[in-house]
Symmetry: C2
Subunit: 343 residues, 2 copies
Amino acid sequence: MGKEVVNKQVLFKDYIEGVPKESDMELKSSTIALEVKEGTQDVLLKNLYLSCDPYMRGRMRNFHNSYIPPFAPGSVLQGFVVAKVILSDHPDFKEGDLVSGMSGWEEYSIIPKGKNLTKITRTDLPLSYFVGILGMPGITAYAGFFEVCSPKKGEHVFVSAASGAVGQLVGQFAKLMGCYVVGSAGSKEKVDLLKNKQGFDNAFNYKEEHDLNATLQRHFPEGIDIYFDNVGGSMLDAALVNMKVHGRIAVCGVISQNSFQNAQAIHNINMVIPKRIRLEGFLQSDYAHLYPQFLENVINYIKERKITYIEDVAEGLENAPAAFVGLFHGKNLGKQVVHISDE
Amino acid sequence: MGKEVVNKQVLFKDYIEGVPKESDMELKSSTIALEVKEGTQDVLLKNLYLSCDPYMRGRMRNFHNSYIPPFAPGSVLQGFVVAKVILSDHPDFKEGDLVSGMSGWEEYSIIPKGKNLTKITRTDLPLSYFVGILGMPGITAYAGFFEVCSPKKGEHVFVSAASGAVGQLVGQFAKLMGCYVVGSAGSKEKVDLLKNKQGFDNAFNYKEEHDLNATLQRHFPEGIDIYFDNVGGSMLDAALVNMKVHGRIAVCGVISQNSFQNAQAIHNINMVIPKRIRLEGFLQSDYAHLYPQFLENVINYIKERKITYIEDVAEGLENAPAAFVGLFHGKNLGKQVVHISDE
């Protein structure tokens, strides 16, 4: 019988509608035995970094039949993590290994059969990168831009939520490809970072714009070739009328929408005909085959300082709910992670 | 100086909003000299069949910068025709040739430099087919289905306005490909023709359905792979929630929409993300390179009686305005043409 230790956890209380609040989650201390049963192939993790991602909101809703099931009310929240293996009954993992994968919002997690864990072999990069630029948001940006948007050198690219985990990478991938890139974000600080640190050709604070249609026309007088949509709603509507003929819209997220099923209506979808627009929704999970190529390319970009990656690191599990909720109010500056432990 | 003859014409009075009315057009008799000036390469046509097409509504609006300019108020309406060459100063055309192309809604038209006229060499097929199944609506259906929808054998296909010029062909192309096909139309008679004459697996009268979402769920319990959208609006919204993962939507037309710029809002566009839907608007004019292949294939289908093509033929130029207006009220049974003259 392994030693019993305290295990702080973040519980999901009950299904929500609208935007997550801190009170939808609860901090709890339970205990866990530091052991894995023989023959189970289970892996015991100590979680080091948690990832706060907008898609998790979808799992808080009582909406089944989507691409991922909802959280169970009363259970520990789940998300992408970087973790250290404490004990392992799985042949692929041993004590001390660093891994990334899906785990619980808690200090220690048992991963049955080590499901979907990936060993981290590159220790020359910050560990938190493996839930960000080298993790799900990274492959989302990479596959979404290079595969879904079919970009060509010189094209004019618009990215919304451009300073977020995905947006900041899309914009920089587009610059590396020789595109002209404009991003939208929700504060002067974010806009400044996009323009001065991340190489965007231009950026604007959508909160200061009263006519998004006119804003996009000003930034793209000849039209938009590619719109990478992280927000949905009125920004998508404004983009539709500002697209060039044969423009492409990759629909990645709808962070602006407080409700998925009662989302803001779109009025300009008919523009897809005269402009022959291709609009495509995607999930990074369909592009797992690109992961090795993605990892090699993006690690090179990082090493060669061709990409500037901005993270917002909250400290301590007890601050995870606020960090997560902050995503929906644009409080994060860059990719939001939560640091739980160094080892 | 050529002989002067009476030339009955249909004039476009002034820009419209909403749905075209007969009073937006005016019948007029003018005269025309039956001559072409030497050195002009002009061609004088006698128009035999006029084509009534929904896209023409777009040209009645004071909306510039689209893919085709609006009609000039006070001028003769223009559209696709089948015509006979009366006189020609153009080396490619001679008296007696049958041609298709863009001409006026009038008995006789001068086509400067014979612009965009195509000689009809297959005289073993009804002439009216060259503004329908072998003309613009045909290549629209062919390119839209085979190129935009990326169909695979066995897939489940939904076609709206399925008994129209384009829809009836899309459904039959899909059947030839081994798909399961359901169409929507606006009358029992149309539904019966789709099911009994045109080989659709099923069809329904949308006017008798009160919950399109439930209707599509009933017809596609496992979801829709391909939606060929001729109507827009609430049918598109209902299709979005009934698509399968990786479904494709080809947006061809918006006949249900009384206004393009103040179109009915779409509420379910966010479904493109979890379902990874590709939605694409298209115009047949981008697929001109497919025309020879299209013509050969479709003529074979006609000859082998693999396609049943239904036309609604109005008689006489004076009935052209009513025939055209009827499109927007679903009065046509099949492709609407107007027969003006036999020779």
